[in-house]
Amino acid sequence: MSTLYDKIWDRHLVHQEEGKPALIYIDLHLIHEVTSPQAFEGLRLAGRSLRRPDRTFATIDHAIPTINRNLPFKDPIAAQQVATLRDNCREFGVKLYDLDRVEQGIIHVFGPEQGLTHPGMTIVCGDSHTSTHGAFGALAFGIGTSEVEHVFATQCLQQARSKNFRINVEGELPFGVTAKDVILGIINQIGMGGATGHVIEYTGSAIRGLSMEGRMTVCNMSIEGGARAGLIAPDETTFEYLKGRPFAPKGEAWEKAVDDWSGLATDEDAAFDKFAEIDANSLEPFVTWGTSPDMSVKITGAVPELSDARDSGEASSFERMYEYMGLEPATPIEKIGIDRAFIGSCTNARIEDLRAAAKVAKGYKVSSGVNAMVVPGSMQIKQQAEEEGIAEILTDAGFEWRDAGCSMCLAMNEDVLAPGERCASTSNRNFEGRQGRGGRTHLVSPTMAAAAAIAGHFVDVRDWKFKS
């Protein structure tokens, strides 16, 4: 009796010795400009070659500007980093989807979109949100730069086996409640380190009911609960999404693959080390108020009071967070005004997210005091949104319409919050300074971000008057 995680693990086990970490094979290695240069350098210094360039794919996302990309970058160090990736890819024979390609985008949007991500694969990237790819039933996790070098040289990783954590989300998501709210609700329940040392498998009717985009949003933030990876067993929704994509198997190979993938599920009696149950029917839109992703409340709620803290340690974190976030305890969430809205990131910048935001924005204008920005997850999504008329709805409403990249999710480029600015953001981390030193981030879904941009403060999207 084994779990989906166990099955993928066993399929990739190259070698295991008593008392040592296992050696597992890596099917797909995704790289970007920030965490790869030191790994290439290490390879070069040791005189080693890159074992499987055919299993290695690169794009550029973290440090690049999202406007005027054809001009020289303002940041010379970022420009050098991008140039270094280009040189390294050329030298070692890695396929690079550069800024002039329509496929270019955030690495975790790019992989699935190109059909590189398949069920049952092992996938790594020097980036913690590699967990996104788990939505396809692939074992996908973030690694450090030393491990990037290790995969370059050996196509394997030394890994200790993780424990199994099942999170079952049963029921039907109420109107206005999205995949983002599901994962914010889960992290709120299990806590930020709640899944440390574990791989989460998400199960239940609410998860089954999600689109691939929604499943990716959920798996993306597994790391915010501390998990090594998140997994959702593949099904018809998965196959439907993958079929016909550039790197998906074709013809007879497709039939064979689907046959194989269909068997990738946890056995009925398989044991999990940990279990949590979420009632989908009781979920509401969530807004984070503090500086860790588990510090969220329902939109109808208020900033918690000190007396709500579970212990003295949490109380002292609350005090730090009130101060950093500039919030008084007991402030109703709907009373919190915003200066910026950011719709983007590998959590929520896929076509479905942009469609949802446009539905809210249609016929409205962004509040006069708010600067709102939409950054599609890939250039292909950008193009599709323009063809569907979504871009026009958003720009008519006053949203800025940018080129693909990580942008203000981590603010390595010039898309940055000023100190004290408050932002409704569809990204995944609200850490201090994440979106700019002194910037205040509230994590929400795309519809909640769009509604807040228009209202100028957080509002309950379930009461929104849609204009069609």
Binding site: K20, Y25, T35, Q38, G193, G226, G313, L410, G433
Partner: protein, 196 residues
């Protein structure tokens, strides 16, 4: 990688929960392509004002802790992104050990690969160490990796757990890639079996 030898050092206390890698090394320093020199940016936004002057109330700006080589931190230390720059900056600043009740998984593994020893101890012990370090006299600890012991000048304080293999690699300064490449024939056989 440097070999990890048993040593004695001063403790710097930073007992906050969920210290994430964005705090350890803010993203504006990630555009560099080198592996070294990150110590100057460790905890940048906590350590320095926007004009570059030092914040008086931050522990690493306190002269008592200037030569500290053991960092004592709160639970879930190093959570967040996979940036190995976090481990590099801590090492480059002069720390050899981080003691905390728990660590983010990726940070934990990144640390070991760079010769930085992450030690998990019970929450109350860590809190107590932090409190003692805050006290007037500098707290010195001895870390014995061979016997997995943390001691102060009066003697043994706690035993810690670490995977045998990881400990062996740290003590001997072994390179993971070299070890894996010893299994080249197994990797090739695996690739042949899966057909590509």
């Amino acid at each position: 990688m440097d070999k990890f030898v048993t040593f004695r050092g001063t403790v710097a206390p930073l007992f906050r929960a969920n210290i994430d890698t964005d705090q350890i090394i803010p993203k504006q320093f990630l555009t560099r392509i080198e592996r070294t020199g990150y110590g100057a940016f460790l905890f940048n936004d906590w350590r320095f004002n926007p004009d570059g002057s030092k914040k008086a109330d931050f522990v690493l700006n306190d002269d008592r802790f200037s030569g500290a080589s053991i960092l004592v931190a709160g639970p879930n230390f190093g959570c967040g992104s996979s940036r190995e720059h976090a481990a590099w900056s801590i090492l480059d600043h002069g720390f050899k050990v981080v003691i905390a009740p728990s660590f983010g998984d990726i940070f934990y593994s990144n640390s070991l690969k760079n010769g930085l020893l992450p030690i998990r101890l019970d929450n109350f012990l860590v809190e107590e160490l932090a409190a003692r370090a805050e006290g007037s006299a500098a707290l010195q600890l001895t870390i014995d990796l061979e016997d997995r012991l943390v001691s102060d000048d009066k003697g043994r304080l706690a035993a810690f757990e670490i995977d045998d293999f990881r400990r062996y690699c740290l003590i001997n300064g072994l390179d993971d890639i070299g070890l894996t490449l010893q299994h080249e024939d197994r990797i090739s056989a695996f690739e042949a079996k899966m057909g590509r």
